[in-house]
């Protein structure tokens, strides 16, 4: 790891101030992506501004069907939140299958979506749920937030403070984990809300998370796994790598979508 300067922020305003003073600084939250990247010298920020001790970034709030999750809330906290499970069990289930218990104790929802790894789980949930991402500057719709591979609409000194969504009538997530890393080789989140069905796919797209129009159309007619019989998605914009080629992933998208709907229907 190259040398770096560590700073601990006490508030969001303090974090922004510390980052502005830095040459080439980065926020660190759980560090479960950034520290490994620094160890392998894929990242070399001059300064790290630690968000883990900022109280205003933590916790899950539920009022009626509106769910707000603080950016520094860990995967383990989301997975174990009983109140959240009673309005949106799929997101708890998703969080419970990120990496392993030790990673879940540190890794946070804000870090996950800021990083926007094309195989990360949370981006699929937020896109399918039509979530809103709150920052210290503005609100960004999930549809506008995830802009490409490891790319988001965030500016350098912009801190995600929370994400919020309305729990839909039904939702479910299914992932085919990469057997070594547990990241999604393909993961599909389906949500059926008042204004329609939204389906988001992670782990498969060349440009990261995306909505599948084919599957949304089929599930809008009937929100049931049977509606996906004979449906196929194009392999055109899907990724090929050593783990699976685009055609294999195209098939996995449909298979995971069926499982996600089955789990949404309980």
């Amino acid at each position: 790891m190259y040398s770096t300067n560590y700073h601990r922020a006490s508030s969001v305003a303090d974090a922004v101030k510390l980052l502005k003073k830095a040459d080439d600084g980065k926020f660190v939250s759980g560090g479960m992506t950034l520290i490994p990247a620094m160890k392998t010298r894929l990242a070399a920020p001059s300064d790290l501004v630690d968000l883990r001790h900022v109280p205003e970034l933590k916790g899950v709030k539920i009022s009626g069907k509106t769910v707000t999750i603080g950016a520094a809330t860990t995967h383990a906290e989301v997975a174990a939140n009983a109140k959240l499970a009673s309005v949106c069990p799929a997101i708890c289930n998703l969080a419970a299958h990120i990496g392993d218990p030790h990673v879940r104790h540190m890794g946070t929802i804000g870090g996950s979506i800021a990083n926007n790894d094309p195989a990360a789980d949370y981006p699929a949930a937020l896109l399918a749920l039509g979530a809103t991402i709150f920052t210290n500057k503005r609100e960004i719709a999930a549809d506008k937030f995830f802009t490409g591979l490891f790319e988001t609409a965030l500016k350098d000194d912009e801190v995600i403070t929370a994400v919020a969504f309305t729990a839909p009538a039904k939702c479910g997530y299914a992932k085919f984990p990469n057997p070594a890393s547990r990241y999604a080789m393909t993961g599909v989140f389906v949500a059926k809300a008042k204004d329609g069905v939204r389906v988001a796919v992670t782990g498969a797209g060349e440009d990261g998370v995306f909505r599948s129009k084919e599957i949304e159309a089929a599930l809008s007619k009937k929100f049931d796994a049977s509606a996906l019989e004979g449906v196929s998605v194009s392999a055109g914009t899907l990724m090929s790598d050593i783990h699976a080629n685009a055609e294999y992933r195209a098939n996995l998208v449909v298979v995971m979508a069926k499982r996600a709907v089955a789990s949404a229907n309980g």
């Binding site: 790891m1 190259y2 040398s3 770096t4 300067n5 560590y6 601990r8 660190v28 560090g31 479960m32 520290i35 490994p36 620094m38 160890k39 392998t40 790290l48 630690d50 883990r52 383990a76 990496g99 392993d100 218990p101 030790h102 990673v103 104790h105 540190m106 070594a180 890393s181 547990r182």
Partner: protein
Amino acid sequence: MSQVEMVVNGRKVSGTVEDRTLLVHYLREHLGMTGTHVGCDTSQCGACVVHMDGKAVKSCSILAAQASGSDIVTIEGLANGADLHPVQAAFREHHGLQCGFCTPGMIMAATDMIARHPEGLDEKTVRAELEGNICRCTGYHNIVKAILAASKAMGKAGKGKTKKAA
């Protein structure tokens, strides 16, 4: 450089470290506590697992500066003098180790897992919860057996607070 201070196995420690110092290197090289191991550089093997403020974490992926102010427990902190911790005793009894390299991390993961499942553990849960700990020797079978036995023994010792392990 950062001034760090934390409680390690009940003892207050402090020192000045380079900001890039990983917690595992602080423990091993600054404090001379070599029970916590490093088995990979991809944050996947779990040989480095310690408890930070009561939760199992990978000390190879946390800076000592990030951990400053916290309460750390390592494998050296489990036994009570000559008396092994029930999880250590179960690993010995059930032959849950061969070369022993993964063992400190396995045992720290196991104690955390048992604490998070006061209702008891079954084999499927133990195997799923060991996702972040790699063993190259045992094939996991005896590790799983040891954790199930320890969970049962600790449940009994917990004055009936814990329900029967499945």
